[in-house]
């Protein structure tokens, strides 16, 4: 397996100085506490955790911006903090609220500048730029100053700008923050498409469960600087809730059904939404009981929303790791 990113026992401590009158005390803050993981090239990984968990610190060490206290990292064979400028040619990054586009100039000018910064071959640059303009639907505003763009348009241009030099690893830090539902969905599909077609490794941090669900194949949850979960998105959802959502539509008014571990989330005349704790009652038992309660027109068994899974992982890891 081709390893895009290899992280071994990565640690980062910060020294925090506090003054009480004239006395000075220095505290050690452990931001990242021994993270180890591998990300093969081409994979889309969601790197998530509550505020202050150490996500940004880790990403900044992976991009060479921060020096670690200890541990080893290899990104595409480079040690990021030692080979920052060499690595920069093969990675891209979007930091959600920090723009890389020139505010008073159209996105086209930033694209042109980036082509010079990355020393791209002219023909290669024009080809990639045109593909990005088409795929990200940038044509209508390529000549409009960035200050006049909507947030959705600006974010599409930001992501496109970070792909101009065809990076092998793309770090996305809260790329959909502040976007409306439509713009968010558009951006997610564009990122997915680029990951699939170009084989770009995606390293995504987001607080939006939708981003994780739509973009990532794998989810790594960190809390207090440690990895608490590392699995594929579907498995995480199944493993961490032990619950299923049953949506049932009836032809006739159903009879009341009482089962241990089953909670009625929504009830109307011909429709039920049930939450099933599978550790208490298996889904097949509940399904049989539902079929018995009335004539069923339609039945669907779903996994619970990822947001709920994440909330549970955060609260569990808070209990496990002392602060």
């Amino acid at each position: 397996m081709n390893r895009g990113v290899e992280i071994r026992e990565l640690r980062k401590n910060f020294a925090l100085t506090r003054w009480t009158g004239f006395s000075r005390s220095v505290f050690k803050v452990v931001a990242v506490n021994g993270i180890s993981m591998d990300v093969p090239e081409g994979q889309a990984v969601a790197f998530i955790g509550p505020n202050g968990a150490g996500k940004s610190t880790t990403i900044k060490m992976l991009t060479g911006i921060l020096h670690p206290t200890s541990g080893n990292v290899s990104v595409l064979g480079f040690t990021p903090w030692r080979d920052r400028r060499k690595l920069a040619h093969s990675i891209g990054a979007v930091f959600g609220q920090r723009s890389q586009l020139w505010y008073h100039l159209p996105p086209g000018d930033t694209f042109e500048l980036l082509s010079r910064i990355y020393s791209l071959e002219r023909s290669e640059f024009i080809r990639t730029r045109d593909v990005l303009i088409e795929r990200f639907n940038l044509g209508s505003f390529m000549a409009t100053p960035v200050r006049k763009l909507s947030l959705g348009q600006r974010m599409r241009a930001e992501v496109a700008a970070s792909l101009l030099h065809r990076p092998r690893v793309l770090f996305l830090d809260e790329p959909t923050i502040g976007l409306d539902v439509i713009a968010r969905q558009e951006l997610r599909s564009l990122i997915c498409e680029w990951n699939r077609n170009d084989g770009t490794t995606i390293f995504l941090t987001s607080h939006d469960a939708g981003d994780i669900e739509h973009v990532a194949q794998r989810v790594v949850v960190i809390n207090h600087g440690q990895v608490v979960v590392d699995d594929n998105v579907v498995a995480v959802r199944r493993k961490y809730l032990g619950a299923k959502i049953l949506r049932v539509q009836f032809h006739e008014l159903p009879r009341t059904m009482l089962l241990a571990g089953v909670t009625m989330l929504r009830e109307s005349a011909f429709e039920w939404t049930l939450k099933v704790d599978t550790a208490v009652t298996p889904v097949r038992v509940v399904t049989a009981a539902v079929l018995d309660a009335g004539s069923v027109a339609d039945i669907a068994v779903e996994d619970p929303p990822l947001e709920e899974v994440i909330a549970r992982i955060y609260s569990e890891s808070r209990k496990e790791v002392p602060t």
Binding site: T57, K60, A88, G92, R98, H104, D109, L113, I117
Partner: protein
């Protein structure tokens, strides 16, 4: 990566900064109006001073030379980009990450941007100032050799000022705010650099000290070179500028390397 390719990157940053500067017409008009007002006020002040003086020269300069000296020093001073506050903002907001993700030197990127900004601003200021000076006092005799000497000391004047402001910006790694330091720095340049008064007007005991300080290399040297060029002054300025640039650049290198190692990255 060839040296040419590397230089081309920084050139394009400067070019983009220059274009960006021209894109905001409102600010250009505001700056020009401010320069026009300042020059008019100083013209009136100096007219009174010259009327009261018994000679037609003050500090070795005639009234038209004095106003042209002010045009140059004001054009340089008012063309200064906000380097210190930009670096301060980079550190405080975490925007530093956007710069460090590129295959560029952090200081080099800022230098190119500042130079692109500054060249455009200076050219506009100089054009506006020249028109005002021509209207108020008429032309002064200029020699090609003088213009060449003036152009020879101008880049190092810009570079020195950039390094000074960049150093102040880097202090944001240790200080809550660098705006206080930036104010002290700009006022020091203004006072000891000879912005309002040529150094030849300062007390005789102070003049040799002020001449060797880097501030005079930023304003007084190009200003004097434009109105009253001399080969001796050129040689002296180039030596002082060279030493000052070497010291400032060394300090930037050391401070930046320490600063980037103690970089925090909170809040995304």
């Amino acid at each position: 990566m060839t040296t040419m390719e590397s230089a081309a990157r920084y050139f394009w940053i400067a070019r983009t900064a220059a274009r960006s500067n021209l894109a905001y017409a409102g600010e250009v008009i505001y700056r020009c109006s401010f320069l026009a007002i300042i020059l008019y006020i100083f013209m009136r002040l100096w007219t009174v001073v010259y009327a009261g003086a018994e000679e037609d020269r003050v500090g070795g300069l005639t009234l038209p030379q004095m106003l042209w000296y002010l045009v140059i020093t004001e054009a340089i001073y008012l063309s200064a980009p906000r380097v210190a506050s930009e670096v301060d903002e980079d550190v405080r907001t975490g925007r530093l990450a956007v710069h460090l993700i590129r295959p560029l030197s952090y200081a080099g990127g800022h230098l190119s941007r500042a130079m692109g900004d500054r060249v455009v601003r200076f050219a506009i200021n100089l054009a506006v100032g020249a028109v005002i000076a021509l209207v108020l006092v008429g032309p002064i005799p200029l020699r090609w050799s003088g213009i060449v000497m003036f152009l020879a000391v101008l880049p190092a004047a810009f570079l020195l000022d950039f390094l000074g402001m960049f150093l102040i910006g880097l202090c944001a790694f240790w200080l809550e705010s660098t705006s206080g330091l930036a104010i002290i720095y700009t006022r020091t340049v203004m006072m000891f650099g000879g912005m309002f008064l040529p150094l030849s007007i300062y007390p005789a005991a102070l003049q040799p000290i002020l001449r060797v300080l880097p501030f005079a290399s930023m304003l007084s040297a190009p200003g004097t070179m434009f109105v009253n060029p001399s080969l001796t002054l050129l040689k002296e300025s180039i030596v002082i500028q060279g030493v000052a640039v070497a010291i400032f650049a060394g300090m930037v290198g050391i401070v930046q390397s320490i600063a980037l190692r103690r970089l925090f990255a909170n809040g995304g």
